[in-house]
Symmetry: C2
Subunit: 370 residues, 2 copies
């Protein structure tokens, strides 16, 4: 993987990730396709929306359809018929969400499936092996996501664990890189492993975690454990502390954020990649992002509203359907409602990032012309 | 509305319905969009599949979003952003399905909403008024759908009621035709009313019903009350009795049928139009129609099947996704499953009718060349 920075405006950068499955323009928002599908949206529509990279969840795919099956089917790209870049998380975040169902040791995490209660053990090595079977272009080190609130001691313990697991993730990844056991997997030996910064909400611990992760050395760095319930000001404080310690020439990924305002704000702070279930999950609840603010489509005021959801939006939903129709679909429980709503929300997020990239590049040109 | 027969092969005919919203090639299968949406499939995909006409259900739309609201929004076409032809049923079938919630008199049917228990009264006049508000190209007379089994006396009583209601439907439709109360409704004064043949499973009663409906006079005739639980041989027997009594130059519509084999069979018997929830409902249950027979996609044998659902099918689902992926979506309860499954099943049904039309025309050419 290669990362090129093409324009810089203050802390913000516009760049390009070059992966085995194509290029990704940054800053980028990555829609979430938990189980190898962005809920309700076919892959061809994701392409039409200009989706450049998707995120899929290792924990969920490990349980269904299973890592071995995905390996036999030639990996996630083939399985889900998606030729563009993919990123998988390490499973850490999901496993740690199963608070009642897990047991953590230095070796790894024992957890019970949320589906059938069956017992599983994830280690950094296991996470890497599963992610190798899935074959995403970018994969993540296995980390311990610190819960919020967490006291300083707990955050330090979690940071130390994450650092040891980052080393083990990298060592295992490097040792496997040269050997292939799957002819079908196009990305075998061409995956890229990112490290993850933790440290709770303590700025100095975040800085220490960033330094230690950079010392281990990765071609890209993520900041995890944010947007876990803390106030937004704290998120920003923690990011401000950690970001400057990450190498400027490597991609920076903030996991699990955010609202449209947040993703723009973080991109302006120098973040290159973000993912979040917010646009897709909110859409399924009838909460739609528009250039005129948030729309709760089930609201009775839309019952006779013949206008498009967002007159500024060029997506296929806004081009064709009225608010009255979208409200009817939602209040009637029609299957088309989550689908159309998700298409629009993703269009809004992707357009937001597209505009921002454009602005960064234009801002640079304007300065150059002065 | 105009109906042109372009080729005839035995009893089968290939023709063309010319409606205010465009032409429909017959024999045609009409997908069902109960609440102004074919569940899980956006209108642009229905167009892409070659859907020429959709059916929507008056009873459901009368309850949600309501006839007055649809009138104010300019009718169903505008509301659902569908520019091609539409047909609405009279609401009779749905009202009669509410067996515990209805009370029938010669005047009409009192029923309770399946949504909130509220009380409503449908008469032939009311059904026509609601269908005028909806504004479909083809609308249906209000009939009493005879349940199965029903004794001869019950079937005769139902036939008589249907005949009186057919007269009232026509009279009311004609009286309203010249007056418009809605500038927005493009199809105002250009709708076409079809009559409906009933008579239970008694061939002679079906013939009597057909004769009496033809005497009242409609530009098209439907045969209702079939596929209500009777054996298929009986359906065919009843159809064979009634079809020859319907005018050859008018479209013939059999309501609520059927399997792929049945729709081909009935078209060969001289039926021009059919509708059924089978392809869409079966799809939502993972039952898929293919050129190689029925596929139950949740079956474990498909877990590692990398082939397309139907190698003979050119739909976007078969062009892109594997059986293994479709099975995963279905067994994981992903929203994309009912959507992709429905797209394929509709493609199969629509292709079946397209091939049949082609065959009828080719058969005629072959005979002409002899």
């Amino acid at each position: 993987m290669e990362f090129r920075i093409e324009a810089q405006l203050g802390a913000a950068r516009a760049g390009r990730l070059i992966t085995p499955h194509g290029e990704v323009e940054t800053p980028v928002f990555m829609p979430v396709g938990t189980l190898a599908s962005v809920k309700g949206v076919p892959q061809e529509t994701l392409e039409e929306l200009g989706t450049q990279i998707l995120l899929a969840n290792t924990y969920h795919l490990y349980l269904r359809p299973g890592a071995e099956q995905l390996r036999q089917l030639g990996g996630l790209h083939r399985f889900m018929a998606w030729k563009r870049p993919l990123l998988t998380d390490s499973g850490g975040f999901q496993v740690f969400s199963l608070s009642q169902l897990r047991k953590v040791s230095d070796q790894g995490v024992e957890f019970r499936s949320h589906l059938d209660g069956s017992s599983h053990f994830f280690t950094p090595e296991k996470s890497i092996d599963v992610q190798r079977a899935l074959g995403a272009d970018i994969i993540m080190a296995f980390d311990e996501c610190t819960e919020y609130p967490a006291d300083r001691e707990r955050a330090r313990h979690s940071l130390e664990m994450t650092a040891r697991w980052a080393e083990r993730s990298k060592r295992h990844f490097e040792s496997k890189k040269s050997g292939t056991n799957n002819e079908k997997l196009e990305t075998e030996n061409s995956q890229t492993l990112f490290g993850i910064v933790q440290g709770g909400m303590y700025a100095d611990l975040r800085q220490e975690s960033a330094q230690r992760t950079v010392e281990i050395g990765f071609p890209g760095y993520a900041i995890g454990g944010l947007s876990v319930g803390e106030p937004r000001a704290l998120t920003e404080e923690v990011l401000s502390a950690a970001l400057p310690l990450l190498p400027a020439d490597k991609p920076r990924y903030v996991m699990g954020v955010g609202t449209p305002e947040e993703i723009v704000n973080y991109a302006l702070m120098g973040v290159d990649m973000m993912d979040c279930v917010l646009p897709t999950r909110a859409a399924r609840h009838g909460l739609l992002y528009t250039s005129q603010g948030k729309v709760n489509i089930k609201n009775a005021i839309y019952a006779k509203d013949e206008g498009p959801l967002d007159p500024q939006c060029g997506c296929r939903v806004c081009a064709r359907y009225s608010r009255a129709y979208l409200r009817h679909l939602y209040t009637s429980g029609e299957l088309l409602a989550p689908s159309l709503n998700t298409i629009h929300n993703l269009a809004f997020y992707l357009d937001t990032m597209r505009s921002l990239r454009h602005s960064i590049k234009l801002g640079v040109s304007a300065r150059a012309a002065q």
